[in-house]
Amino acid sequence: MKKINSSQPNNVIYMKSLGKRYDDEAGVLDALKNVNLEVKEGDFIAIMGPSGSGKSTLMNIIGLLDRPTTGVFLLDDVDIATLSEKKLAQLRRDKIGFVFQSFNLLPRLNVAQNVELPMVYAKKSKAERKQKIEEVLAKVGLADKARNRSNRMSGGQVQRVAIARALTNNPSLILADEPTGNLDTKTGDEIMNLLKDLNRQGVTIVLVTHNPEVGKYANKVVWVKDGLLTHKKVSV
């Protein structure tokens, strides 16, 4: 993979003049226009904005689920523009840990098997997988729930499993999309505190939300409106 030095060292995300245009029967839509964004190692950044603002598009691009139409996107100094679908999938596996609003665990698998899955795709050895499962489950406080099924657990617990799964391949960043959207306030706070803890231990987190209460946990907030990054704020 081609490595390019972005202007600053320690950049996990570097976006320059990035745009995304949807051009289909429904017409032309510029979902993102001239986006410039840097996320550094150890950052906890919130991308905020109302629905339809383009924040989902931005999240999909950061998560390597979609490609920009124009501009530069370096993830860990790798230019993703030239990568094949397969390389993107491998980069996604190794560099990004997803946390979704609706948890997205596989219902047929138990907790340990769900957490194991990214490592299976990364072809890690069995011993390594076993050790890592214990490690990350302990980190999210579910060490005793390895054999449980997700459909017998509370929403907060399920989201913890999802965070554990996101951590298994030691990703460059955790991409959390409305992680508290399906949880009550108290559980939501617990999840946000867990993310905050992980951030303090050095994990880079990109949080996508429309909820200012949730956004407060981030060190840095980026506002998206009509496809433009309108506002950046560094919290105290």
Binding site: N60, G63, L65, D66, E85, K86, A89, Q90, R92, R93, D94, F98, F100, N104, L105, L106, R108, L109, L117, P118, V120, Y121, A122, K123, R165, N169
Partner: protein, 415 residues
């Protein structure tokens, strides 16, 4: 990775047991039907070849008409119909063999014995009982020694009986049982074509059993001269020839052919067959039949494959979200492809294994109730598993490709 895929496939097959079973059903039935048909075919084959080879490898059979030793079986199939020994009753037309041919063969080098053989169509009666099932055969005492018939009771008729056209008969075990039950038959009188024959002997039941329901023990032997007298003809349907050594069988076969051709003014309107010729004639017919039935049974394998494809396509649609999740956490398209392909193959192979088990059970039932021992060869087993593997791959590819092509963003939005 493959191991993980197998594990995943088993989990998802287990989570929908009923559906998985119904999906497999087509393959189960297909493999079952194919294996049972091949098994019965092979079983009958080995039974009959056992019977034919029990006649001895140093035997030649001279028969009227041209039977191409297995090559032209279709048009002569009728003549070869019947399994146990030799069902002469199936022969049609007037025989071209004569007493002169018998004499010629007797004088041929390496020939130890000959036995001409004739058929009398007649009911056999005893007191009030009358049966049409036995096969009434006119022959000479040599027949008994060539076929190595074992006498249960009394004796086979003698050369004197033949030359004096004596009205004596030797009964096969089944005929004796049918007419006399447990009572002794020797010395009793039976009726053939309205004439009284004295029973002089009873043959032991043969251990090769029956083939195709036609018992080789339901038979009545009478002297051939007597037979010619009561039928008013001197036709000879078959001549059994015993050669001194199996090594000389082919050369003697050729010599007899040449000599008989001279007798028949150059016409080869007869056949000289070895036991192997008979066997291959029979096998060709049976193979053809088996292949036909197996071809029909194979259609259900095709239908089973389509069933698997159908269900896998539904499964892929239902599990769109799962595919999206897997892709988001790092599965490549080929990971997804192999996952669904392996699932289809496992469904198919499990079906194949179940079909295999069922056909084995059916084999035991057939053995118990139909008296045929089906033979399950390794070849058939490998064929069944190979075919179900192939079906899984062929019909699993399309759904797996569909799964692999799903875009993660759209897939994640699915319910």
């Amino acid at each position: 990775m493959i191991l993980q895929n197998i594990k995943m496939a088993l989990i998802s097959i287990k989570s929908a047991k009923m559906r998985s079973f119904l999906t497999m059903l087509g393959i189960i039935i297909g493999v079952f039907a194919v294996l049972v048909m091949i098994g019965i075919g092979d079983g009958v084959k080995s039974q009959v070849s056992g019977q034919i080879s029990s006649l001895g490898s140093n035997l030649l059979t001279v028969t009227s008409g041209q039977i191409g030793g297995g090559s032209s079986t279709a048009k002569n199939g009728q003549q070869q119909k019947g399994g146990g020994g030799f069902n002469f009753a199936g022969t049609v037309g007037t025989s071209t063999l004569t007493q002169q041919d018998v004499t010629t063969i007797e004088q041929t080098k390496n020939v130890i014995a000959t036995a001409p053989f004739n058929v009398v169509s007649s009911n056999v009666t005893y007191q009030q009982l009358s049966t049409s099932s036995p096969f009434v055969a006119g022959t000479t005492p040599n027949y008994s020694s060539i076929r190595q018939l074992k006498i249960e009771n009394g004796e086979f008729f003698t050369t004197n009986n033949n030359s004096s056209s004596a009205k004596v008969a030797v009964l096969g075990a089944d005929t004796k049982q049918n007419l006399f039950g447990e009572t002794d038959a020797v010395g009793k009188e039976i009726g053939i074509r309205g004439q009284a024959f004295t029973v002089v002997g009873v043959i032991k039941k043969s251990d090769t059993g029956s083939g195709f329901g036609a018992s080789s023990d339901d038979i009545v032997y009478i002297p051939i001269n007597t037979a010619n007298k009561i039928t008013n003809s001197n036709q000879i349907f078959r001549i059994l020839v015993q050669v001194n050594d199996p090594k000389n069988i082919t050369s003697t076969q050729e010599v007899i052919k040449t000599e008989l051709k001279a007798n028949h003014s150059g016409q080869e309107d007869f056949s000289v067959l070895t036991q192997e010729d008979l066997l291959s004639t029979f096998n060709t017919i049976l193979d053809l039949l088996t292949a036909f039935v197996v071809a029909i049974a194979s259609i259900s394998l095709l239908v089973g494959g389509i069933g698997i494809m159908n269900i896998m396509l539904v499964t892929v649609s239902e599990r769109t979200r799962e595919i999206g999740i897997r892709k988001a956490i790092g599965a490549t398209s080929s990971n997804i492809l192999s996952q669904f392909l392996i699932e289809a193959v496992i469904l198919s192979v499990m079906g194949g294994l179940l079909g295999l088990g069922l056909s084995y059970i059916a084999g035991l039932l057939v053995k118990k109730f139909a008296g045929i021992t089906p033979v399950f060869s390794l070849k058939a087993l490998v064929l069944a598993l190979g075919v179900s593997l192939l079906v899984g791959v062929v019909f699993g590819v399309a759904p797996a490709i569909k799964a692999a092509r799903k875009r993660p963003i759209q897939a994640l939005k699915a319910l």
